[in-house]
């Protein structure tokens, strides 16, 4: 199964990547070559095998629900591309 240029455009849109078509074509060639080498995984019988998300069992960790200090707002905003009045400045999302 090979990635087509249409697949690539769709995936780039999902991943929010503004890539020119020529770059996507080059990347498709590269990824298809790589996936050919990895195809043999599909032949490994895995029916009924439990999937592993974490190699080591992980459990919920609880603590008392007490207020603790957190990152001050000014510190968080100090590295923003643009900030004003204690807020991140972003492009307008809702139209007039």
């Amino acid at each position: 199964m090979a990635l087509t240029i249409e697949d690539m455009k769709h995936v780039a849109k999902l991943a929010r990547l503004d890539l020119p078509e020529v770059e996507l074509e080059e990347m498709a060639r590269h990824l298809n070559a790589l996936m050919t080498h990895f195809e043999h995984l599909q032949a490994l019988p895995t029916e009924g095998v439990e999937p592993t998300a974490h190699s080591i069992p992980v459990f919920n960790v609880f603590r008392e629900d007490e207020t603790q200090p957190c990152l001050p707002r000014e510190r968080a905003l100090s590295i923003a591309p643009e900030a004003r009045d204690g807020l991140f400045i972003v492009p307008r999302i809702i139209e007039d």
């Binding site: 991943a15 990547l17 790589l34 599909q42 190699s55 960790v61 591309p81 999302i93």
Partner: protein, 476 residues
């Protein structure tokens, strides 16, 4: 006497005996960085002023009789660990100006231990790569041959330790990124069990695989650094609540009766014959010292690479979604609206390898392909984990090469992405199973370092350290 060439445990003794001062030691290391850095290029951001400040504070604690063994010892951090007030780029243009407002837990612990930060080291962008050639800034050099790569992705840290540009360093290992460059640079590198060391403040690549670990000149320093960074953390719920042993207790020069498994698949086709010879010879010497050596099989290991190249990019595609030009880092295309801003920022800020992995990962998780790729890989991961469990029913540790070849030349594999990925074929299975593994130097091949990899059961770093220590002692 060249202070920068000594180990942390040797220097700690000298500091305590007042033979040297912490500032003197830091100045010696900083001066050596000045000398060799143009040829090695291990550091993205050296921190000499901070180092001098921290060295003075460490000396004050030494003078008060504080017993911490890392007091005054220079350390370098891979530039994917957050350091408050010190730029943390992750080797990416998208974070070229990122100055974290908080510290990674490992850095906080090192500060508490009195270590001295001398700089932030180079890496493949977002820790994706095996040579530092994917760094968004420059390629680091292997101190044993500057025409060659130091390995990756923690290549800046391993090159810095090998070139004596620091005494200790931390790296991170998602598919071999500590052990493989340690092998290439002839230093000791350990990936602890998943969950042994807090990942809080480590820029996430593949969260179910990432683990921070030590890069050092010898096994004793590795144990000392493990002592300093291990243990539970309220800020990382995957960091387990298990007691942390004193890892220096594991430094016993005796392997009599220890059962060492040799996974036959790790010596198969693709591993350079000279590397096999070097590693076999190390295993023979361990056997001669009384270890019981047996062959074991990990039949699913051959699927390690495809499993990894589905799961790691899938996790990365999710983790890297946060770099969108909104809250920190690079911002492009603000005037074109918020979607275009994200698309332009990400396309400009990410390098090729990162873009490709985000694309693979997004594809593998997209509607219609989830079962065929992601679920399949997770099921195969279970089978691989069971292979290791079966092997560990018969033996205490596994011994094998760290990487199939010694360091390759810069640019040699740039056009052969599969060959580059094969550099991690013997380390990736260990991450998938969450196990601890260490790489220690064995006999070089054509003057280039080779690594012996020792893999142990979950949370049994002590056994890996013991075998590594015994092997190190045999070489004198």
């Amino acid at each position: 006497m060249e202070l920068h060439t000594l180990t942390a445990h040797e220097l700690s003794r000298k500091l305590r005996a007042r033979e040297i001062s912490a500032l003197e030691l830091t100045e010696a290391v900083l001066a050596h960085i000045e000398r060799v850095e143009p040829a090695i290029q291990a550091y993205i951001t050296p921190t000499p002023e901070l180092a001098r400040e921290q060295a003075k504070q460490a000396q004050a604690r030494i003078d008060q009789g504080d017993p911490s063994p890392l007091l005054g010892i220079p350390v370098a951090l891979k530039d994917n660990m957050c350091t408050e007030g010190v730029k943390t780029t992750c080797g990416s243009q998208i974070l070229h100006n990122f100055v974290p407002p908080y510290n990674a837990t490992v850095y906080r612990k090192l500060q508490e231990a009195g270590a001295v930060l001398v700089g932030k080291t180079n890496l493949d962008e977002f820790a994706m790569g095996s040579s530092t050639e994917n760094s968004g800034f420059f390629t680091s050099r292997n101190p044993h041959d500057t025409e060659r790569v130091p390995g990756g992705s923690s290549g800046g840290s391993t090159a810095a330790v090998a070139a004596h540009e620091t005494i200790l360093a931390l790296g991170s290992d998602t598919g071999g990124s500590i052990r493989q460059p340690a092998s290439f640079c002839g230093v000791v590198g350990m990936k602890p069990t998943y969950g042994r060391v807090s990942r809080y403040g480590l820029v996430a690549y593949a969260s179910s695989l990432d683990q921070i670990g030590p890069i050092t000149k010898d096994v004793r320093d590795c144990a000392l650094l493990m002592n300093a960074i291990s243990g539970e953390d309220p800020n990382d719920s995957t960091c387990v609540q298990l007691p942390v042993p004193d890892f220096t207790d594991a430094l016993v020069d005796d392997v009599k009766g220890m059962r060492l498994g040799v996974p036959k698949e790790f010596f198969a086709q693709g591993v350079q014959p000279e590397v096999v010879t070097s590693v076999r010879s190390a295993i023979d010497k361990l056997a001669a010292a009384g270890a019981e050596v047996m062959e074991v099989s990990l039949p699913t290991a051959e699927y390690g690479l495809p499993i990894y190249y589905i799961l790691a990019p899938a996790e990365a595609s999710s983790n890297l979604a946060r770099y969108d030009g909104t809250r920190y880092g690079l911002r492009e295309g603000f005037e074109e609206g918020h979607i275009r801003m994200m698309e332009k920022t990400r396309a400009k800020g990410f390098g090729n390898e990162v873009l490709q992995r985000v694309m693979i990962g997004t594809y593998a998780l997209s509607a219609g392909y989830y079962d065929a790729f992601y679920l399949k890989a997770q099921q195969a991961r279970t089978l691989l984990r069971r292979d290791f469990e079966r092997a560990f029913e018969q033996c205490d540790a596994l011994v094998c090469p760290t990487s199939p070849t010694p360091a390759f030349k810069i640019g040699e594999l740039a056009d052969d992405p599969l060959a580059m990925k094969l550099a991690d074929v013997l380390t990736i299975p260990v991450n998938l199973a969450g196990l601890p593994g260490i790489s220690v130097p064995c006999a070089p091949v054509n003057g280039l370092p080779v690594g012996l990899q020792i893999i142990a059961k979950p949370f049994d770093e002590a056994t890996a350290l013991r075998v590594a220590y015994a092997w190190e002692q045999m070489q004198g």
